[in-house]
């Protein structure tokens, strides 16, 4: 199944960062902190403040352009998650119908605004998490977390789940192919076989997870020492961190867009 294979590739490629990226010289910890602060700033935007969501979007877009990261790539790979986000706030316009203003013939309600801002906030967080993942790589993120003393046990669990994810997807792809070959002309899976397919998928992937873990162990993976990163912090990282945090905070706390908006209105 092509979509599944795509997903497998996506997950695997997140393993390590692209060395050619202009962000390669920045310490993973700096990128991690930036992404975390961004997530906090975005999610704390009040729910009717579309202008601030917009401002944070502008910041992230600028970031992507500056560091040559591709939002399109993120959309293409994670479109399912974006779709999911869209449905998260879908009940807001129904529940919250207070009319805020009228645009042409449409009554714009506060529910519509809050749904939109919820979607934007989610989408921006997703984009920034994706940018972090592609510019850092899973292993580097883990070593950054280790540097700030996140417990090793937690890191190992995250790492193994991440490893397990590819196996699960691969098994899903195999099981699905085997099914399709014996059920030609069918679209999707007939519900009567879901149980047994999912069952065999889980069993097989767990089996393989065990062997893969053995293979990691035999090649020197020691959970207690993993993710020790020796790359030193450098000036570039400090500069990056300071500039990112300042520019982000400015856009978040100074309502530039509503100010511009009021200028236009007047």
């Amino acid at each position: 199944m092509d979509k599944l294979d795509d997903a497998i590739r996506t997950v695997r490629e997140l393993d390590e960062a692209d060395d050619q990226s202009p962000l390669a010289k920045v310490h993973p910890l700096a990128k991690l902190v930036t992404a975390l602060v961004f997530a906090v700033l975005v999610t704390s935007v009040p729910k009717y403040r579309l202008d601030l969501c917009f401002a944070m979007g502008v910041w992230l877009y600028g970031y992507a352009v500056f560091f040559r990261l591709s939002p399109g790539e993120c959309l293409r790979r994670l479109w399912g998650l974006f779709l999911l986000l869209f449905f998260v706030g879908i009940t807001n316009p129904i529940l919250d119908r207070k009319v805020l203003f009228v645009m042409g013939r449409v009554n714009v309600t506060s529910g519509m605004i809050s749904m939109l801002s919820l979607f934007l906030k989610g989408a921006l967080t997703l984009f920034s998490a994706w940018f972090l993942a592609v510019s850092c790589g899973m292993l580097n993120i883990l070593s950054a977390l280790k540097a700030v003393h996140v417990p090793q046990v937690l890191l190992n669990v995250i790492y193994l789940i991440y490893r397990y994810l590819t196996l699960l997807l691969e098994e899903a792809s195999r099981v699905f192919t085997a099914y399709r070959l014996r059920a030609p002309g069918q679209r999707g899976l007939h519900f009567s076989v879901w149980g047994s397919l999912v069952g065999s998928m889980l069993l097989r992937s767990m089996d393989r997870a065990e062997t893969v873990y053995q293979s990691m162990e035999l090649r020197g993976y020691q959970p207690e020492y993993a993710f020790t990163d020796s790359t030193p912090w450098n000036g570039t990282s400090s500069l990056y961190l300071i500039l990112c945090l300042i520019s982000m905070a400015l856009l978040r706390f100074i309502p530039i867009f509503s100010f511009l908006g009021s200028l236009v209105m007047n």
Binding site: T166, E217, L218
Partner: protein, 259 residues
């Protein structure tokens, strides 16, 4: 040197998988372990690298036998030291490979052993060129054929520069061309080799010594020619004469008839 001294093992107590196995393999030897399906061959390899531990069978560890690799006993405490000496090529290459690209998979072990980027890269180059797969370097592991995956698995353990290589059914998924290639590469790798297989032709061509395992016991241990020509011994243990020897026999009996 590999030593097993009176090793017994069972996954569940009622069905012993290995019983009182003792053997000794010298430095630089290439030994084949032959036996039918379920004879306990893979289990034996897993014991050597400490993926499994011998069953004490109610006795104290001193009485229950031990495994030594270059004088280091395989215990939980010594695992890191033991494993650094051994490269284990899995039967299922899919299970062995998990990194996004060939290059990164081959680099996994040296990185874990604390080599820096430059040294790691050197090890990667060395392993890829030993196996002759430099051109696969940037490929995604998902896109490789069975034969290529096997060669990559081999490279991923060679990058640790192990003294001992263990192969579990190395040729089982290979086509004749790749099988040939594997056989050609083997002598160039150096070190002690232990090859588990029921592909007796492979063992005939590559090994000087054969250990025949049946239902968890060693039923024969000797030089390749003697054991692999012993038709009744092989058949009693669920195996057949290697095709090469069957062919030689057919040819010589045909010769006798024409004379």
């Amino acid at each position: 040197m590999i030593r097993l001294n009176d090793i017994s093992f069972a996954y569940d107590r009622s069905r012993p998988v290995l019983s009182h196995v003792s053997l000794q393999i010298g430095k630089g030897e290439r030994v084949g372990i032959a036996g039918a399906n379920g004879a306990g061959k893979s289990t034996l390899l897993k014991l050597l690298v400490g993926l499994l531990f011998p069953d004490p069978m109610g006795k104290t560890p001193q009485e229950s036998g031990w495994i030594g690799i270059d004088g280091i006993q395989v215990t939980k405490k010594n695992l890191a030291a033991v494993r650094q000496k051994i490269g284990y090529v899995f039967q299922d290459s899919d299970a062995q490979l998990f990194m996004p690209t060939v290059e990164k998979d081959v680099a996994f072990a040296p990185k874990n052993y604390g080599l820096d980027a430059v040294q790691t890269q050197k090890r990667v180059e060395e392993a890829l060129s030993l196996v002759g797969i430099e051109d696969l370097r940037k490929r995604s592991v998902l896109e490789l054929s069975g034969g290529q995956k096997k060669l990559v698995s081999l490279a991923t353990v060679l990058s640790m520069r192990p003294d001992i290589l263990l192969f579990d059914e190395p040729t089982i998924a290979l086509d004749p061309g790749n099988r040939r290639r594997f056989i050609r590469i083997l002598p160039e790798l150096g070190g002690t080799h232990l090859i588990v297989s029921h592909d007796l032709d492979l063992l005939l061509e590559t090994c000087g010594r054969i250990i025949l395992l049946s239902e968890g016991r060693i039923v024969a241990d000797g030089d390749t020619e003697t054991i692999l020509r012993d038709q009744s011994l092989l058949e009693a243990n669920g195996l057949e004469l290697p095709l090469l020897i069957q062919g030689q026999r057919l040819a010589s009996s045909a010769d006798q008839r024409t004379q």
